[in-house]
């Protein structure tokens, strides 16, 4: 890595303005530092030098925006991240709170690591065919990425180590085939998952949701947008539903704090009470 965060605030605003005016997409609610880095990563991936070139491509090449959205998205880090959370979900939360016919929503899926993890946990509980999972993503290209369920083999080392800490009777290797340095996961896991494009700002949220798995996604928004997303998520959930965010995210000081009680503080698991 030679350069970090070279885009200044004025260039940043110019990029946001270009995207907004040309494509009607508002990125002004993004968390600044991480989003600057995402833009820089997208520029490097596409060999774009300088923000003026980026703005020129964004405003003249209509199709580039889909690629840009895909390239700025931040991959989920690994499967079974925070193994204790998945243990808690498998051994306590899901058996206690999710029944046949329940609805689970996984918003803003990027690479699909969390979604695959969830399906393996449900499979272990023999509940995968009993629940309806909706996975939403921001970009058009991501729908295909999620449905492919292919992951680089270099990620499997940490995934396997996490899985071992999750203390399962199953073997992670039984869920994928290694080919060309990639792990092809069993598509049966996501066969019944409804994967669709979704934008918090404009789209209608799913309804009657029993569990929302939304980890380490709010961190990429400013506080105001976090509140507005949490309003929508709260509205989508049934009373008694479960909300899970990242271990370093919380509902404290959000507008929705009073709608939830903490049921597991260290794993950031909440229950909706009103």
């Amino acid at each position: 890595m030679d350069e970090i965060t070279n885009i200044g605030i004025i260039e940043y605003r110019n990029i946001l303005k270009a995207v907004s005016e040309t494509h009607g997409i508002d990125f002004s609610h993004k968390s600044f530092t991480a989003f600057v880095r995402s833009i820089e990563r997208a520029m490097a991936l596409n060999n774009i030098r300088g923000t003026e070139s980026l703005i020129s491509i964004l405003t003249t090449n209509k199709n580039f925006i889909h690629r840009f959205i895909s390239d700025i998205s931040i991959e989920e880090t690994e499967m079974f991240r925070d193994p204790n959370l998945w243990l808690e979900l498998r051994d306590n939360i899901i058996p206690q709170y999710l029944k046949k016919g329940c609805n689970i929503w996984v918003p803003e899926v990027t690479s699909g690591d969390e979604l695959i993890t969830l399906t393996i946990v449900l499979k272990e509980l023999d509940m995968l065919s009993d629940v309806r999972i909706t996975a939403t993503c921001f970009g058009r290209n991501q729908v295909d990425i999620i449905k492919e369920a292919v992951f680089p083999m270099k990620k499997m080392e940490v995934n396997t180590a996490n899985f071992a800490r999750y203390n399962s009777k199953l073997n992670l290797k039984d869920f994928y085939i290694e080919k060309n340095n990639k792990a092809y996961f069993d598509k049966e896991l996501i066969r019944n998952v409804n994967v669709k494009q979704f934008e918090f700002i404009v789209d209608e949220t799913p309804q009657n949701i029993n569990m929302v798995l939304y980890r380490n996604k709010m961190i990429y928004y400013n506080k105001r947008m976090q509140n507005s997303i949490l309003n929508k998520i709260t509205d989508s959930m049934i009373t008694g539903g479960i909300f899970i965010c990242g271990v370093k995210e919380n509902l404290e000081s959000s507008n929705n704090e009073k709608s939830f009680v903490v049921i597991n503080e260290s794993e950031s698991i909440y229950k909706k009470i009103s």
Partner: protein, 185 residues
């Protein structure tokens, strides 16, 4: 010079140095100290507690968007990058590791340099890779004060040596000299 923040990066061989520094920070220290230390990413608990034992000031692993307060020590949480943003808040991120590290010292230093500019002290301690070298360079470019632990005192000198190669540091200090410096600011 009135500083607004101190940021310290360390890796292999830095734990005892950090512990000694934290044990000697004056109780009335009125600016925040950010710690970005390489740590096992799957071990979330224990580190904050271990550092707290001798620390004179409270140590906090911040949540995303938590406010930065003076006189507190903030430790980058396991498996997250930690940014200090304008508006005095933290922002966390799960972007890919940088220099094989999440938290990455370079990324934390870079955001602190952007936010605090010439009001920042950056300190690189003992460590076994070059993470932090570009970060300390950025602290210096932004007008801040760049310090490295004296490589002769380091258990592993790669990190301060890499920082010295990347930028013209202001001071090469032993642990005791770092403590004296911090007591005077």
């Amino acid at each position: 010079m009135s500083y607004k923040a101190v940021i310290i990066g360390g890796s292999a061989g830095s734990f005892q140095v950090i512990t000694k520094i934290l044990a000697n920070i004056p109780a009335g220290f009125d600016i925040p100290i950010f710690l970005c230390l390489h740590r096992l990413k799957h071990v979330r608990t224990g580190f904050e507690e271990a550092l707290s034992i001798k620390s004179t000031l409270p140590i906090i692993e911040p949540y995303d968007k938590q406010h930065i307060r003076p006189g507190k020590i903030y430790l980058a949480p396991a498996n997250y990058h930690m940014y200090m943003e304008l508006g005095n808040t933290f922002a966390l991120s799960t972007e890919p590791p940088v220099n094989h590290s999440r938290p990455s010292i370079d990324l934390s230093f870079f955001s602190a340099a952007y936010t605090y500019k010439n009001k920042l002290v950056g300190i690189i301690l003992s460590g076994a890779n070059k993470d932090g070298a570009l970060g300390l360079k950025q602290v210096k470019l932004a007008g801040g004060t760049a310090i490295v632990q004296d490589p002769n005192e380091c258990q592993v000198k790669t990190m301060p040596t890499a920082a010295m190669a990347a930028t013209d540091v202001d001071y090469i200090f032993t642990t005791d000299q770092i403590i004296s410096f911090l007591k005077k600011i």
